[in-house]
């Protein structure tokens, strides 16, 4: 690790101001950033912790019936308190291990957009709104490829608003070492249709499987997707599985998610 300064602002405005300094870096729960810094692969001169800002923490319901989660809320809190959206609470409870879930935050996870992270699948499948210090971004416009989002430099995720589906389920197939998603599929059924978001699989990061959405919107059953086939071409191929294998798993996990949600 290189030397760095740490600041812990207590308001969003102070955090934004602190992030305007050169080489300053926002720190959520630090579950990715801190190990990266320990390996000297990142060298921010200043870390701006978002962990001491009360208005960025907690789970509540909006007047519109959305589950609203503060950007600095740890996964364990979401797992315990997002009971209005059981599929989301269940997903949060599957991230990492207890230490990760008690430190890692939803804002940190979404901003990092690891291609194998769980939360991006939830945000995209639910059609969540990512609220920042300066604007609101629809999940469909937020994720822009592996580790890429539409966030501007210094922009902070302050809240995430999740519309609550009628039924939903996240089916995760574990990468044996990291226990990130080798493939994870979130299926969410709303009155106006079904959304299916896939993480872990694609070289382009989390994506919506539109073909499955159409099939499931017409017939919400595992059988509806059993004959669909994804190409392995743009899927991640690594030590843990080929693109072809991941494409196959997307299909299997989607079917299982539907079965579990039905």
């Amino acid at each position: 690790m290189y030397e760095f300064d740490l600041t812990r602002p207590t308001t969003i405005a102070d955090a934004v101001a602190a992030l305007n300094e050169e080489d300053a870096q926002a720190l959520g729960g630090g579950q990715t950033l801190i190990p990266t810094m320990k390996q000297r692969l990142a060298m921010p001169s200043k870390l701006v912790s978002l962990g001491a800002i009360p208005e960025m923490k907690g789970v509540c319901m909006s007047d519109a019936g959305e589950v609203c989660i503060g950007g600095a809320t740890p996964h364990a809190v979401v797992s315990a308190e997002a009971t209005a959206f059981p599929g989301l609470a269940d997903l949060a409870g599957q991230i990492g291990d207890p230490a990760v879930r008690n430190r890692g935050t939803i804002g940190g996870s979404l901003a990092n957009n690891d291609p194998s992270a769980c939360y991006p699948a939830a945000a995209l499948a639910a059609g969540a709104t990512i609220v920042t210090n300066s604007r609101e971004i629809a999940a469909d416009d937020f994720f822009e490829g592996m580790f890429e989002t539409s966030l501007e430099e210094g922009e902070i995720i302050t809240e995430v608003r999740f519309p609550v589906p009628e039924v939903s389920h996240y089916e995760k197939f574990l990468q044996p070492a990291s226990r990130f998603a080798l493939v994870g599929v979130m299926v969410a059924k709303f009155a106006d249709g079904v959304r299916v978001a896939v993480t872990g699989a694609s070289e382009n990061g989390v994506f919506r499987w539109k073909e499955a959405e159409q099939a499931l919107s017409a017939n919400f059953s595992a059988d509806a997707v059993s004959d669909l086939a994804l190409s392995g071409d743009e899927m991640i191929s690594d030590l843990h599985g080929s693109g072809e294998y991941r494409a196959h798993l997307v299909n299997v996990m989607t079917g299982r998610a539907v079965k579990a949600a039905s």
């Binding site: 070492a177 030590l239 599985g241």
Partner: protein
């Protein structure tokens, strides 16, 4: 040997809880990195990020001027010191000795694997040393890496230019059996052939390697605190081969060590570096490996590619085993690396069987990867895996039940001592009895119903069995000397009875998870009839203990424990003399029972404590006949290896849609001979099973073509977690005692890791075949992707 009241007295056979766990669980253990010496400095290494390269130049001038930097070393500083040697000399089939390129303290001329250290910075703080390492300007010209063993053997690029080949040796065992084995296979009615990979493993001890060197300029004495399984061996290597520090000027201390699994047997260059640096700076120098360094530089395990043939009669009677193996030794020869794929592997290639012909060929191959050496089991898991996989395949080809095929060929209880076709003499065992026990433990009769239940849930269920034998108690100096060992492999113990009657037992074995501090006192307490709590074990410090060879090869109890017995026998003999004097009786009339020395047939007695006190306060003492004091040392060098054996079974479920394997049941019936502490033995078996199941299912060490380690962190290297493992049914009761050591013990530390991989793979193949798929083999680790691929045909 276990006694009915053993638990009550805490002697041999008692399931005493481990006394050392109190300090470990309360954070009171002291590991090397916990030690901070006055004036301590910090070493950080510059490590190659290419697998093969020529060091054109190393410019340290900028780094040397950075804050806190005290010294920088490169390979140039060590050209005049010796190389870190291989401990065993292996000769090739043509009689040529193995190739032994020098393994320097720091790379010189070339770097040979990713992580190979070519420079080291010593600074006031670790942070400063890290900063300075980044400022070293090394011009290293990358060369194509030699990674794949078959290509390395075929020629092309070289790991070591000076030896003009990548083949370290081409070894045959037993060469005199070769023609007969070839002829037997040629004429055999049935031959099963299997090509398999024994996957490379990273040891992953919880505590990474660490060393601190301290130099006393006043006395010219060095102290090295280091993560070692064998401090005397480390001292010998440094003194006799590498730095030439006189043995009596070098103290090596291995304090609490957080797991070794083989990887901490060896002397590594970092130990020599901190010693040299401490002398130069006249200040202590500390180095603690990061987890990344552990992945890149700890000696890895396994990494064999083998073709095995099993020839048999149509009725399944074995005629011959023949193997051809390529064994990866990595970029340099680590200390045991030449013994592991040869004498710890080839000599076990007859397994538990009466097979009359065995021939083993092993080519050891240099590659631009981390050195490979002994890892829990060391050669014996590779032998067991090859044999037990090919037997399973053979059983399927012949339509014979796999358990029956094994039983048909087992060495029978009346055949001991049994001379195996691979050159060992097994002293005792009862493989059928273990198999009987196993069939009951796993509830074989209930398998069909469980399989039907799994199928109802869309899963494929398989049953796998295995029988293993290992050669443990790694010793007989005479035998290992014939086999090429350059050291003796005895062990030693000193039993010191203190004046107030408590005891310190100094042992050459080192405990880093094995429970010696609990088990060894049980032996002494049992012999003397005293409370085990009055006995402390001292280990891990060359200044305190007699010259012992340390802990590996499941040898501690069988070899060092036997030395403890011999030393305690000497204590008893001397104590009887003292008691006879105190009781005014003839020495031959003195009996020791429950801690009391008494005169046979009388009620006259003195306690052990009174005798101890007399030995140290020798008033009115016959000093012309008896020396004062009560302290004895024994060295023990056994007559043979010990031969633990066992039968394992497991049931797995395979998810046909994903290829995911789960181990549902696992049973282990082991014969470890006599048992000193059954609870510790059970724990050792559990740990070994965890590592073996890890190897079979998830642990995957992968280098890419350029020699980058792809699985260099826990993000990609899967270690078994509790929920990857089933509850085990373990039974090690009623063993057949070892016939040649005084405790009748055989060793239990490696068994689980030896017996479990083939058990799991056999079960997975059984499961897949039950689904109607023609899959005869899948290479480890059986990750979901690999199993799914295999099932796609």
């Amino acid at each position: 040997m276990p006694k009915d009241n053993a638990d009550e007295k805490g002697g041999i056979g008692a399931a005493t809880t481990r006394r050392e766990d109190f300090r470990f669980l309360t954070g009171a253990g002291q590991y090397t990195d916990d030690i901070t010496l006055q004036g301590q400095t910090h070493a950080v290494f510059a490590r190659s990020d290419v697998a093969n390269g020529v060091i054109k130049s190393i410019d340290t001038s900028t780094a040397m001027g950075m804050p806190g930097v005290l010294a920088i070393f490169t390979g140039e500083d060590f050209v005049d010191v010796g190389g870190n040697p291989a401990g065993w000399l292996i000769n090739s089939r043509d009689g040529e000795p193995m190739k032994e390129p020098k393994r320097p303290v720091l790379a010189h001329g070339k770097v040979r694997h990713v992580g190979d250290a070519y420079a080291a910075v010593i600074a006031e703080t670790k942070q400063q040393a890290q900063d300075a390492v980044e400022a070293i300007e090394a011009d290293i010209e990358e060369l194509p890496a030699v990674i794949d063993m078959a290509s390395a053997v075929a020629g092309g690029g070289l790991v070591h230019d000076e030896i003009e080949t990548n083949v370290c040796f081409d070894w045959g065992w037993i060469e005199d059996n070769r023609a007969a084995t070839d002829a037997a296979i040629k004429a055999a009615p049935h031959v099963t052939t299997l090509e398999l990979v024994n996957n490379r493993l990273v040891p992953n001890a919880m505590e990474p390697r660490a060393s601190i060197a301290d130099y006393n300029a006043g006395t010219d004495e060095y102290t090295l605190y280091t993560t070692s399984q064998n401090p005397h061996l480390t001292r010998l290597l440094i003194s006799a081969f590498v730095l030439g520090i006189p043995e009596n000027k070098l103290r090596v201390v291995a304090p609490d060590v957080g797991g070794g699994f083989g990887s901490k047997i060896y002397h590594y260059g970092e130990e020599a570096l901190v010693l040299a640096a401490a002398k130069k700076l006249k200040r202590p120098v500390k180095w603690t490996a990061s987890r990344s360094e552990a992945f890149l530089t700890d000696a890895h395990g396994r990494d064999h590619v083998t073709k095995i043939e099993l020839a048999c009669e149509k009725d399944g009677t074995f005629i011959a085993f023949r193997t051809e193996t390529m064994a990866n030794v990595g970029a340099y020869l680590s200390n045991f690396s030449t013994a592991t794929p040869t004498f710890l592997h080839g000599t076990l290639m007859a397994g538990n069987y009466t097979v009359p012909n065995v021939y083993v060929n092993v080519k050891a191959v240099f590659t631009n990867t981390a050195p490979v050496d002994a890892y829990r089991g060391a050669g014996r898991p590779e032998a067991t895996y090859s044999i037990e996989r090919v037997i399973d395949m053979c059983a399927r080809e012949l339509g014979i039940d796999p358990i029956e095929l094994r039983r048909k060929n087992f060495v029978k209880p009346d055949q001991y001592p049994f001379a195996s076709a691979a050159g060992l003499e097994y002293d005792s065992g009862n493989y059928d009895a273990q198999m009987d026990k196993l069939e009951a433990l796993i509830d074989r009769d209930g398998f069909a119903a469980r399989r039907a239940e799994s199928e109802k849930n869309g899963k494929l269920r398989g049953l796998g069995v295995n029988a293993y034998i290992e050669a443990c108690g790694i010793a007989p100096s005479n035998l290992v000397g014939i086999l090429g060992s350059r050291v003796g492999l005895y062990d030693a113990a000193t039993v010191r009875v203190n004046a107030t009657g408590n005891l310190s037992v100094m042992v050459g074995a080192h405990s880093h998870g094995q429970g010696h501090e609990t088990a060894f006192p049980q032996v002494v307490a049992d012999m003397l009839g005293v409370d085990p709590a009055s006995i402390d074990i001292v280990h891990g410090d060359t200044a305190k203990i007699p010259f012992g060879m340390g802990t590996y090869g499941s040898r501690s109890l069988a070899v060092c424990g036997s030395a403890v017995v011999r030393a305690t026998e000497k204590i008893i003999a001397k104590a009887k003399k003292i008691a006879a004097h105190m009781l005014e009786a003839a020495e031959g009339d003195i009996e020791l029972s429950d801690g009391q020395f008494s005169v046979a047939g009388t009620d006259k007695s003195v306690s052990f404590g009174e005798v101890a006190l007399k030995a140290y306060i020798p008033h009115q003492f016959p000093i012309e006949d008896i020396e004062p004091g009560l302290e004895e040392t024994a060295f023990y060098d056994p007559a043979n290896f010990t031969y633990p054996s066992g039968a394992y079974a497991c049931e797995v479920e395979v998810d046909p849609e994903t290829g995911k394997v789960t181990v549902e049941r696992f049973a282990a019936a082991d014969d470890f001979g006599n048992i000193i502490n059954p609870m510790i033995v059970t724990g050792q078996v559990h740990g070994g099973l965890g590592q073996g199941i890890g190897q079979a299912l998830i642990e995957q060490t992968a280098y890419d073509e350029s020699g980058q380690l792809l699985s260099a962190s826990y993000m990609d290297y899967a270690m078994p977690r509790a929920d990857d493992l089933p509850f085990y049914q373990v039974d090690h009761s009623d063993g057949t005692p070892c016939t040649h050591n005084p405790l009748g013990v055989k060793g239990c530390g490696e068994a689980g890791a030896i017996g479990s991989p083939p058990t799991v793979v056999n079960a997975v193949v059984d499961a897949i075949q039950s689904g109607g798929m023609d899959v005869t083999h899948v290479d480890m680790p059986l990750t979901p992707a690999r199993v799914w691929n295999a099932m796609q045909g």
